[in-house]
């Protein structure tokens, strides 16, 4: 086997990273447009990286589980959602809710401890849980779709799922955060 060269690594990774840069800027633009919510709801900005990290980690872990299930033939070709897939999706939603509550509470406590104002646990929790659930549902669909497409094209899910799901997760989570924060700000 020929030794891997710098050029080979670049050829395989660069297109994916450049595409990711464009999609992440689109995702980030929703954070850039949250100006009013971020000003009216202190503590929200401190919570954003935690919510993104949580949803990204849950979604890539789900992709990795679906990849393993596919590899071991536990997902038949003619069915979209089997019991094992349903359990994986359910776990992703339950985890999303538990961690959203944790992220909101922790963001509130740490923000107050740092001597800053916070919108309070109820408002932050409402935003994190709602945005987490909505983006979780969207990401469930994206993960299953990715699995089907990889399956049909004969791609190894383990090689594509990570970057695809991570980027999609940032896009959906920020769109949901933007919308939910605007709604909570309007209600408050």
């Amino acid at each position: 086997m020929a030794e891997t060269r710098v050029r080979d690594i670049l050829r395989e990774s660069l297109p994916l990273l450049l595409a990711m840069a464009v999609l992440e800027v689109i995702a980030g633009s929703f954070l850039g447009r949250m100006e009013h919510s971020l000003e009216r709801l202190p503590g929200l900005l401190a919570m954003v990286p935690a919510v993104l990290a949580m949803r990204g980690n849950i979604s890539t872990a789900m992709g990795s589980r679906l990849g393993t299930l596919t590899r071991f033939g536990l997902v038949p070709r003619d069915r979209w959602v089997t019991p094992v897939v349903a359990h994986s999706l359910a776990a992703s939603l339950v985890l999303g809710v538990i961690l959203a509550v944790a992220a909101a509470a922790l963001a509130h406590v740490v923000t107050r401890a740092a001597g800053n104002e916070s919108a309070g646990i109820p408002a932050l929790t409402a935003i994190a849980v709602l945005a987490g659930l909505l983006s979780g549902l969207a990401m469930g669909l994206v993960a299953v779709l990715t699995m089907r497409v990889a399956f049909r094209r004969g791609l190894d899910l383990d090689n594509v799922a990570g970057p695809v799901l991570m980027t999609a997760s940032d896009v959906f989570t920020l769109v949901c955060l933007w919308a939910v924060a605007a709604a909570v700000r309007g209600a408050a």
Binding site: V6, M20, P49, A50, A90
Partner: protein, 194 residues
């Protein structure tokens, strides 16, 4: 497919097992995320003044994490075969060079794309596009430099203690990508005077 519908779900695939086993690591990710969030909150006024900088935060994190996991996965495979400096460190030098080039290209591209896309995406573009590209380039270079140092430290520690590098190197580097990415983006914006 009647039978398929009745297939019992093995305990390891049950949602409760998945949930319980995933919680500790995810709690860790959330805690680190809140820490990274404090850095953002600290620079909130600057970020609200330059919305395109705020829009770059998820991108720098995502790309930093990805370059980190590419470097980490390559180095972990190398460690399995015989340590960082085997073959006079040729493999390690190649991986470092590749991630540095990847970072230089992707991060300068990122700033320029953000500048070009900001107006159509409804963001107020109050900085020069070239300055924006320079800011992300500087942040990305620092980030990869820090990641290389971390890889050396973590790689040597795993080697000495017999840890499986696959379980250590990649999570450390992706997590570092998340927090350090934000820190370096803000520092670089300060240095360049954005």
């Amino acid at each position: 497919m009647k039978a398929g519908g009745r297939t019992p779900v093995g305990s390891s695939h049950h949602w409760r097992t998945i949930t319980l086993h995933s919680l500790p690591v995810l709690f860790g990710a959330v805690a680190i995320g809140v820490f990274a969030g404090q850095i953002l909150a600290f620079a909130k006024d600057d970020l609200l003044r330059v919305p395109v900088l705020l829009a770059l935060v998820p991108a720098v994190n995502g790309i930093g994490g990805n370059v980190g996991s590419i470097l980490g996965a390559r180095v972990a495979s190398g460690l399995h075969v015989g340590g960082l400096w085997s073959n006079r460190g040729r493999g390690f030098r190649r991986d470092v060079t590749a991630s540095l080039i990847l970072a230089l290209i992707t991060f300068s591209f990122l700033g320029i794309v953000a500048g070009v896309l900001a107006p159509p995406l409804g963001l107020d573009l109050n900085v020069d596009i070239a300055v924006l590209g320079l800011t992300t380039l500087l942040a990305g270079t620092w980030l990869v430099g820090a990641m290389v140092l971390l890889t050396i430290v973590v790689g040597m520690l795993s080697h000495r203690h017999g840890w499986d590098p696959d379980n250590i190197v990649v999570p450390v580097l992706t997590t570092a990508g998340d927090t350090l990415g934000i820190l370096f983006l803000l520092l670089s914006a300060q240095v360049i005077g954005l």
